[in-house]
């Protein structure tokens, strides 16, 4: 399990501030769901946690290690603790499903090929996909691609999994399959999970804690029940999905 802490993180793109002094602590084994309007920096936050982006100022600490100060090699070592499920799955399209899931094992371990294949099949079985190892990503449906992305993310038994919009673009049934999978992985593997989503049903179901970003900062955090019952006008407008209210809709992407 991993502790994640963001301290006063600022990030701008082309003079547009996305993160504006964000502070957030995620405790070991916790499943935190990050919600907020498009363009409030949810995916940017995930990329900072895993070192794909670096803050303009502020610190990102993983188990107490400030990753903004790590060398490239040390950062790669630290990333072994993470798995990430991308919004568009980001499967390597020239590789088969089995090669996608087994790639990290082939690169980072000396396991024989048969053992890598066995582990890849085991991970695919965990996400409910048996017998598709020989297929290419182009032959899979959106939901299957997401689940292969899950299998790839957990192939190296990470201590923390980051999910970037895991249910976006899926039908309600497939969305629930994904929600169950997030909960199953969290329970069975005892990992820290950070889920970025717009899908409130998903947020209420999988989250131990929900964090809402607004204006580049954490506006509100609490349990799913606290979010449901809050009087905070901005949170209420967001969870009720109203165009009218304190959130300036023109600012959304």
């Amino acid at each position: 399990m991993v502790t994640i802490e963001c301290r006063n993180v600022w990030k701008s793109f082309d003079r547009k501030s996305v993160l504006r002094g964000l502070n957030l602590k995620i405790n070991p084994g916790e499943t935190v769901v990050v919600i907020g309007q498009s363009g409030t920096g949810k995916s940017v936050l995930l990329k900072h946690i895993v070192g794909l982006m670096h803050p303009d100022s502020g610190n990102v600490l993983i188990d107490g290690i400030d990753i903004t100060k790590l060398s490239r090699n040390k950062l790669f070592e630290l990333r072994m603790r993470f798995g990430m499920v991308f919004q568009g799955s980001a499967l390597f399209d020239s590789y088969t499903v089995e090669e996608n899931v087994g790639l990290a094992l082939r690169e980072h371990t000396d396991l024989p090929d048969e053992e890598v294949k066995r582990i890849a099949e085991e991970k695919l079985h965990m996400v409910g996909l048996d017998g598709i190892g020989d297929r290419h990503p182009a032959e899979l449906s959106g939901g299957m691609k997401k689940r292969v992305g899950f299998a790839r993310a957990i192939a190296m038994d990470p201590k923390c999994v980051l999910y970037d919009e895991p249910t976006t673009g899926l039908d309600p049934i497939n969305s629930d399959v994904i929600n169950n999978l997030i909960m199953k992985l969290s329970d069975e593997l005892h990992i820290t999970s950070v889920v970025v989503t717009h899908d409130l049903q998903s947020a209420y179901k999988v989250g131990d804690r929900i964090v809402m970003l607004y204006d580049g900062k954490v506006l509100f955090e609490g349990t799913p029940d606290e979010v449901r019952n809050t009087d905070q006008p901005i949170v209420r407008q967001f969870i009720e999905g109203r165009a009218e209210g304190p959130i300036a809709v023109g600012n959304a992407e």
């Binding site: 895993v50 490239r72 798995g83 499967l91 690169e107 980072h108």
Partner: protein, 273 residues
């Protein structure tokens, strides 16, 4: 102030020139850093042997048909042009000398690099650019796999190795093409052509051609990878990166060719006193 006034036009032109120069310097710096990163990780090459051999096959074997057509016709036109300029002034025994020299020193390495560069740098930039915009490169980073080692190094090394091989193949085909055309159109028999070819044949010339080809190979691989990694903005971005990779590699090949020729023939292989 009127935007169409001469002052405004001058300012805009000045700004655009400045932006172009800055962009060029940024690209030179960025690609140099990428190349330095690859050279610094060459000790990890055995770990990417599989990808490197795969790229060598794609780049080398895949370019053979293009190289055959280019080389044969380059040799043929070299023979026709030389024969036209020789008529009544220079003995035809020197036809083989001129075709051989021009092909080995210049036409073989440069034209092979330009045609292979167009094909390969575009293909690399499009592939890596698509991986970039679909977050596949980010996914690789999160899996703690260094994309510079896994994607860039095999491509640059494959180009570095395969360009000299393709160039030697192209030299051979161009000379054969020149010999056949010289025989068919000017009536220079094969023995005379070969005699002329051997008259001023130096191994140094072949070595300099190989050095040029290897350098051009690095440029082709580097420009493809650099532009692929800089891709942003979806399908349009991939198209832009692909075009930029071809333009950059061809431009860099032609500029580098001049400096390489100066260094190789005026310093390293200089035969004067």
């Amino acid at each position: 102030m009127d935007a169409t006034a001469p002052g405004a036009t001058f300012t805009r032109a000045f700004r655009e020139v400045g932006a172009t120069v800055l962009g060029f310097l940024r690209d030179v710096g960025g690609s140099s850093i990428m190349l330095a990163g690859v050279i610094g990780r060459l000790y990890e090459l055995p770990r990417t042997a599989h990808q490197t051999f795969l790229q060598m096959e794609l780049i080398g074997i895949g370019s053979i048909p293009l190289v055959i057509v280019t080389a044969v016709f380059v040799g043929a036109v070299a023979a026709v042009q030389a024969a036209y300029q020789f008529q009544d002034y220079v003995p035809m025994v020197f036809l083989g000398t001129v075709v051989g020299k021009s092909v080995i020193l210049e036409l073989g390495p440069v034209l092979t690099a330009l045609v292979v560069g167009g094909r390969v740098s575009a293909s690399i930039a499009a592939e890596l650019g698509t991986m970039k915009v679909t977050e596949q490169i980010d996914a690789m980073e999160v899996l703690a796999i260094d994309p510079q080692r896994y994607l860039v190094m095999p491509r640059i090394v494959a180009c570095f190795v395969m360009l000299p091989v393709l160039t030697i193949f192209a030299d051979f085909l161009a000379i054969i093409g020149g010999m056949v055309v010289a025989n068919a159109t000017v009536g220079v028999d094969y023995a005379t052509f070969v005699e002329g070819l051997r008259l001023f044949f130096y191994v140094d010339d072949v070595i300099s051609g190989i050095i040029k080809a290897a350098t051009f190979g690095v440029i082709i691989g580097l420009m493809g990878c650099y532009n692929g990694f800089r891709t942003h903005g979806g399908a349009q971005g991939v198209g832009r990166a692909t075009m930029q990779a071809v333009v950059s590699s061809c431009t860099c090949i032609l500029i580098t060719n001049y400096f390489l020729a100066s260094v190789l023939f005026r310093v390293i292989f200089y035969k004067g006193d």
